[in-house]
Subunit: 336 residues, 2 copies
């Protein structure tokens, strides 16, 4: 304080007034004091800044998933990397918490907001029936929903989403062209907005083509569930000739399970993985997969949140449709 006062040529109390955003000094003095303060490496304590109404300089991120499903999930780490890139530029921290379910998540939001710990939050895994958006509305806590479809009931929240429906339609197009008529979609967690979008689209695409041997089965995203459902559907009468998995880990486990049962990929059954990661190129055959830029997805979401925090309007941003990369796990349907 003393150094800043001397260098700016003002009194110490003027420095205090200027840095704490209180009236009593001119705009010129305030600017000069802040400039000098910055040159001298002064930084407001988060605490002081929060009390003076300048915010917590922190963004919240809660993950309501059981720890074990996170084991090999490349999507979240890449998403968080992209988020961090943007936050780091703005000197914003990321307050991170893993909880059991969305009810706990709502409680965390209430506590964070009451304690001035965050300025805004990034919401992931939106549900079709989601209590979180209502809580954010009620609190007035700025938020960006990642992966949700636009929702007019919550005009204060921004949304960043990908067109899962378009991607699913592209997968069905490709498989149909290869002669596949019996397709099983081994989906992720039921109740997630993007899971339901994929299921609805698959059903619509099947109906449009008059296919009756097409269905979705929901799971917990784990490799164990991917393998179990694969075994079950392949051993049922009239087994599918193509399998669509909602993540890379289930696809890998599914290929292993199919192979064990004597089904060759892609000769007997074609496989598409929803998430393209290094894993898809680590098994034989290399997996055809839907590719998206999860790091960029994180960047976009964080950018939208900082725009909200800067007082901008809530927006809906659509990131590019995941692109189908055709590799060796998809082929002409057997008997075609």
């Amino acid at each position: 304080m003393k150094d800043i006062a001397r260098q700016a040529g003002v009194s110490q109390s003027a420095v205090s007034f200027a840095l704490n955003g209180r009236p009593g000094v001119s705009e010129d003095t305030r600017d000069r004091v802040r400039r000098v303060a910055e040159e001298l490496g002064w930084r407001p304590s988060t605490a002081a800044r929060a009390l003076s109404g300048e915010g917590a300089a922190t963004v919240g991120f809660v993950l309501a998933r059981p720890a074990e499903t996170l084991g090999v999930d490349s999507f979240f780490l890449q998403l968080v990397s992209g988020i961090q890139e943007v936050l780091a530029e703005r000197h914003l921290g990321l307050l991170f918490q893993v909880v059991e379910d969305v009810e706990d998540e709502c409680a965390v939001y209430r506590r964070w907001w009451a304690e001035h710990r965050v300025d805004g939050v990034l919401v992931v895994d939106p549900r079709t029936d989601d209590p979180r958006t209502g809580v954010l509305d009620e609190l007035g806590l700025p938020g960006v929903v990642i992966g949700g479809a636009p929702d007019e009931r919550h005009p204060g929240l921004s949304t960043v989403w990908a067109d899962d429906a378009g991607a699913m339609a592209a997968v069905v197009d490709e498989l149909y062209a290869l002669g596949h008529r019996r397709i099983v979609h081994i989906a992720g967690l039921p109740g997630l907005a993007h899971t339901e979008r994929r299921i609805r689209t698959l059903r619509a695409e099947a109906e449009r083509r008059g296919l009756t041997g097409v269905k979705s089965v929901t799971t917990d995203y784990s490799d164990a569930a991917g393998a179990a459902v694969t075994r079950r559907v392949l051993e049922a009468p009239a087994p599918p000739t193509a399998l669509i998995y909602d993540n890379d880990v289930m696809a890998l486990a599914g290929v292993a399970a199919a192979t064990e049962l004597g089904h060759s990929v892609p000769r007997d059954v074609s496989v598409v993985a929803w998430e393209d990661s290094a894993l898809c190129r680590m098994v034989k055959p290399w997996l055809s997969a839907l590719s998206r830029d999860s790091v960029e997805f994180g960047r976009t979401a964080a950018t939208e949140l900082t725009a909200l925090l800067d007082g901008g309007p809530a927006r809906t941003v659509r990131v590019p449709v995941p692109r189908l990369i055709v590799r060796d796990s998809t082929g002409v349907a057997r008997g075609t």
Copy 2:
């Protein structure tokens, strides 16, 4: 404040004194006010708590790795899950940041501490020559080093570590008993303390047995590096009959690369992965792997940090040695 004052039967200024930890009220009054305040659901704002010296109620965690190496790293997500379990019980937040290198990490620590954002930090990926511990000493910022060997030069820091040396010795024992004499260790990032411990142990074990065809090659942990080094060593004269990989992803990529070159696992070459994850059971053959409980590792580290924050002494805690799970990727050395 008014409600608390009424219910506790004291003046509003007494409430303010009591809740802000300032002198001027008796211990009895302070206790009563706090009890009433808690009953009424009052929570101190983090800001007020920080200014009153009660801390930020937040723990910092910085990851100095390029985003792309995080893609399929199950270890960190599991570690963070375990950390969160302990922090959640204590209502502590986790402030998370991804940076380029340890120099940036030191700058983050300085800023967090100057701004009262964290009460302590968890330090991962300790280096053999690590600037971070010195910075923590200098700042007086409480910290727990995860994965480092005990270091007497930094008596203020706790350490939670696993005996990589013991685990590596067990792997060499197993491979030696199977007749392997030429072994290549495809290691992780050079300069990391645990990488160097593994390399040193492998060298010592080889020397003890008079083996000359044993070496370590460092990488960036990526599947691409795992595949490239595997190709290089298998195509060199006198190729190894056993490969030890420092993570699961490199092991998977290595098996794929070896198979492409016409080497059958384990007939021509045996493979051990350092990290046991679901991936190791998703390929054929299932990979022999070193198993550790990364969630428990995170719990232990967070528990040690909260003990430090409660004023306890710095400690060194050793978690169980990673255990070698022998599956189908290790066999008798060819020609034995």
